[in-house]
């Protein structure tokens, strides 16, 4: 897990640092740290870890063992709100043709019954094409309101892309919860 955190921190871009410094000046270090911990910023596909470790104990029981990747009950879709890219010409981990992965994401922690492990899943939106409209899912395991932005899914996570049009959502494993 430490490696994952290192990679994620490395993904932080300068703009985010500037924003953090500005915020720190305005409202103090504690709040700035709160922002960093709850907001995913960066140019890479991986998020800064916003999940709360205290939630890990309740890690997902969810999903249906026989669900396909085009069904909302597929295990790694436990906190996915949007259209499945696997139904829109992409796959579980790849954006459809012409769509770009979002620069920022929210995450879920989902249980894979096959190996008994809880995985941190990055829900990247795919951006720049019109909304797909197929296989709409709305699962919310450990999803929280926007004041915990990194685990909030009622917002367009293409917001930091140009163009920021929302197309569909992929589910990319970024690490194992509880490891490290």
């Amino acid at each position: 897990m430490d490696d994952v955190i290192g990679k994620l921190l490395g993904a932080f871009d300068r703009a985010a640092e500037r924003a953090a410094r500005k915020s720190a000046q305005m409202i103090g270090r504690r709040s700035a740290l709160s922002m960093l911990g709850s907001t995913l910023v960066g140019g890479a596909l991986v998020p800064l870890l916003p999940f709360d470790r205290s939630l890990r104990a309740n890690a997902a029981e969810g999903g249906r063992a026989d669900a396909t990747e085009e069904e909302c009950d597929y295990w790694r879709y436990c906190a996915l709100d949007g259209f499945l890219c696997s139904c829109c010409g992409g796959s579980v981990t790849a954006c459809p043709p012409g769509a770009e992965p979002s620069k920022v994401t929210w995450v879920g922690t989902c249980h894979n019954a096959k190996d008994g492990k809880d995985y941190i899943v990055s829900y990247n939106d795919c951006c720049g094409k019109t909304t797909c409209g197929r296989c709409q899912c709305n699962t919310n395991l450990r999803e929280r309101p926007g004041y915990r932005m990194g685990v909030h899914n009622d917002i367009n996570w293409c917001m930091a892309n140009t163009p920021s049009m929302y197309h569909c959502t992929v589910s990319v494993i970024v690490g194992v919860s509880g490891k490290g």
């Binding site: 985010a16 924003a19 500005k22 915020s23 305005m26 409202i27 709040s31 700035a32 709160s34 922002m35 911990g37 709850s38 907001t39 995913l40 910023v41 709360d52 205290s54 939630l55 309740n58 969810g62 436990c78 906190a79 259209f83 920022v104 720049g128 094409k129 019109t130 909304t131 797909c132 409209g133 709409q136 709305n138 699962t139 919310n140 395991l141 450990r142 999803e143 929280r144 309101p145 926007g146 004041y147 915990r148 932005m149 909030h152 009622d154 917002i155 367009n156 996570w157 293409c158 917001m159 930091a160 140009t162 163009p163 920021s164 049009m165 929302y166």
Partner: protein
Amino acid sequence: MMRSAIMLAGLLAAQACAAQELAPEKIGKTVLGDFERVYVADVVLPHMVDGRVYVLDVDLNLKGMMESGFAGMMLAAPQRGQVYVPTSFYERLTRGARTDVVQVFDAHTLTVTDEIPIAAARAQALTYRNLFQASSDGTTLFIQDATPATSIDVLDVASRRRFEVQNPGCYGIYPSLTNPLRFSTLCGGGTVGSYTINEAHDGAARKTSAKLFDATNDPWFTHAEHDVDSYLFVSYKGTIARVSLEDETAKLLDSADVAAGAPGWAPGGFQPFAYDPKSGVAYVLMHGDAAEGSHKNPSAEIWSYDVKGKKLLARSPAAGLTSITISPSDPSALFAINPVESKIQRFAVDPQTRRVAKTKEIKLGESAALIEVSK
């Protein structure tokens, strides 16, 4: 002879028809009168560039609609005869430069009469009431931004001047009910940040409350209702918290547990409760088998809860609802979004028992999340 008779009969019949023929008509235009409106904001998820706000009367007749672009919000300003709809447009519909504006609709013609440019940082989010609000005197608009770092734009409607305050780790806007220069926000640490706008109207000082809620284990929904002098928030597990946002620092005044004595039941949805300040009764969308992750589940029942008396008054079957509101002029009328059946529904409250029963509905909407009733 016979042939001539038939021809004559045909001629007579044609003349009779001509007598009944409809006159040419003029195309009309409809202008809405002054009646109480039900506004339903729909982000139409399958085709998001085409959002709309439906306008209905309280009998749930569709009277018209307003365009809300990509992930637009809405706020009625009945004292001005206007409706504000902030949204985003792209130069080439789905691509090209992004332009964000507050569209000002005339509430009677439903046409855009003005546009106020705003930063292209507006939270492109599902339509939650508290992402776009006005000050208590209606002169200032508050717009939640997310890039995803969060801030709030403060816009003076008359001068169009605006400034931005950071609200990192926080989300949602809750204007003071009495002080037009004050607004608050909910924060991920379980606190409430309260801002007071300075005299120059170009900045705001912030004070943070004590920890008022557990954002990890029992977070507050961002939807809030207000009483005469305080706000009400509801938590995932069913605690209703009464909070004063009138002073420099927010204060918790009281709390009650809606789901006490009913294990497995919890509030759910996007606009999970409505409140009648006159009677002090909250109407809460409740679902059974509640568990982590069920907080947006549609309702199975509406619970009528006396917030001041801390007493459950009635449980009424009402399946499939995720948003509910109440008429400010007639507290016996509730309006709700049923996304399961793609319907808008009206419910009547029995003033004695507080039981709720469905009385009307209209098939409408694709991804409606916010419903408001306003003059």
